[in-house]
Amino acid sequence: MILLLKDALLDFQRNRVRTFLTALGILIGVMSVVLLIALGLGLKNYISDQFAKMGANLVMVLPGNVFKKGQNATSFGVGFSGGAKFDEKDYQALQKIKLADYVVPVYFKSIAIEAQREKYFGYVQGVNEQAFPLLNLTPIIGRVFTKADVATKSKIVVLGYTLAENLFNQEPKNALNRQVIINSQRFKVSGVLEKKGDREMDSAAIMPYTTAFNRINPNKDFFSIYLGVNNKDQVEQLKREVTAVLLKRYEEDDFSVTEQTEILSSVNQIFDIINSILIAIASISLLVGGIGIMNIMFATVTERTKEIGIRRSLGATKKDVLIQFLSEAVILSAGGGIIGLVLASLIVFGIRTFFPAAINLLSVAAALGVSSGIGIIFGVFPARRAANLTPLEAIRYE
């Protein structure tokens, strides 16, 4: 077997360009599949992290029916786009639930934020003072706003770390007590939050929801209402009570009351589906690569018919010839697979600084397994043709 491998490698060495081009198909196929798995996995991990950072025991009221019975997770996006628009009446009604330790109305808008001639596209979040303890948001400098600030519609904002960094020359702490302009209105920075690793939160300008009512949110509606309990065991009870309150005003399908874990599993399902489709598309290049290998192996068999005859005259069996050609196809394919895997790993390593992509054991096993499998599947026909040549017709071939 080692001698056969040596033979195969020797042959590749003599036909470097052809070997490289043949393996290239598999290389690109494996690289794209591994990269897609890595990116998909990274995205899932990223989203899981974001949810984990939001704090435990969080119940979210969202518009539309996110988890409509009998539908799968793909209805998730539809749920967000339709359904109820919450307002202060809902907020006040939910505040009456005694079980809830926190009730936070959430207004959310993507917007340009300016300061010191710098402009940054971030998010305005209109919330109340309870958002900070509920979402584990703590300032590195200054203070977060208070109930009084909400009541008096103070024109202050608390900046996320990245936003402050971008607006104030990479020095987030310099933002304290400075002014930012949002929607042509000036706001004083009362504090800067520590870095959360959550893009939306780190790029947010958080202000009292009452302040946002003036010009930024003239419709006075909320995208969501967050509720929280200190005791985790009470989450289910809280969900039931919230649902009961909202049903007085809305239809069942107009809103969803959900925990972050439910959303997370839904998001994961969506990503699994998207990933599967992308991997299936990338697998087509593997198939094309396999056909390329088969094509070259058929050409090689024709080119080396005489050699096959010589080997057969010296005592090589059909099986020896079969193994020789099959091992060449597998080495070619698996070699391409390994290089594809290494390149994908390098790319993943490179992008990890800004995106949490991850290569797991499954990707490695799949890359090596699939590429070797392709070598076997597409190598077996040419190898059989080589093995089935009679020694005499092979040696007489010119």
Partner: protein, 228 residues
């Protein structure tokens, strides 16, 4: 003495579509140890087919081929390959060396196909043959970098590596100048005399054939004359 190889009423017929083309027919032949036989005949007379039948590269359509009194004409591919590897060495007109392998690797190639434990050291055997055939200095050369005579010596060394009982040579001097051709024939004769290897040589040259102790003449696939 029992023959090493015996052909009994052997025929080989090829088919071109539905048409049957007999290559050789009615061949009866006994080859004893240390024999030196040449097969003469014009082009298309069936002499090469006969050689390949003796060399177990072809199976007969009719008749039997006995090797050491065992019928080998219906053996499996693996068994025939093993017998070729162990008992038979081929020398071709075109040398048939593998160009991507060095002289040394070409000579040792049959060892790769042997299943089991060899009762000799192939490396020492290769060295001995290379020295005997005066190509030791060329052992790391590729075939296309050495002369025709050296290539044929390499091919003979390869045929001899497994200590075969029979060497089958198909026009071994056909691609060589007359002096080199004579040297190669001397070398083959020496193997027959000193190593006791049975030689079967296919040729269409009377001069070459006359050097053999026994000659057979083929015409249209039939043995028409036998000279002793």
């Amino acid at each position: 003495m029992a023959p090493i190889i015996e052909l009994k009423h052997v025929c080989k017929t090829y088919y071109l579509g539905a048409e049957a083309v007999p290559a050789v027919c009615g061949i009866n032949l006994k080859l004893e140890a240390k024999e030196y036989l040449s097969i003469l005949g014009s082009s298309g007379s069936g002499k090469s087919t006969l050689m390949y039948l003796i060399g177990l590269m072809e199976t007969p359509s009719e008749g039997e081929i006995l090797l050491n009194n065992q019928d080998v004409s219906r053996l499996s591919d693996a068994a025939l390959s093993h017998l070729r590897n162990r008992f038979i060495g081929f020398v071709f007109q075109q040398f048939n060396l593998i160009n991507k392998l060095t002289v040394w690797e070409n000579i040792l190639l049959p060892v790769k196909f042997f299943r089991g434990k060899l009762n000799f050291d192939p490396v020492k055997r290769a060295e001995t043959l290379l020295k005997k055939f005066s190509i030791y200095e060329r052992r790391n050369f590729f075939p296309n970098k050495i002369s025709g005579g050296q290539q044929q010596r390499t091919a003979i060394a390869r045929a001899m590596i497994m200590h075969p009982k029979i060497i089958l040579a198909d026009e071994p001097t056909g691609n060589l100048d007359s002096k080199t051709g004579r040297d190669i024939l001397d070398l083959i004769e020496d193997l027959n005399r000193s190593a006791g290897v049975t030689i079967v040589m296919v040729t269409h040259e009377q001069d070459v054939a006359k050097r053999a102790r026994t000659r057979i003449y083929l015409k249209d696939g039939r043995m028409v004359k036998k000279y002793l």
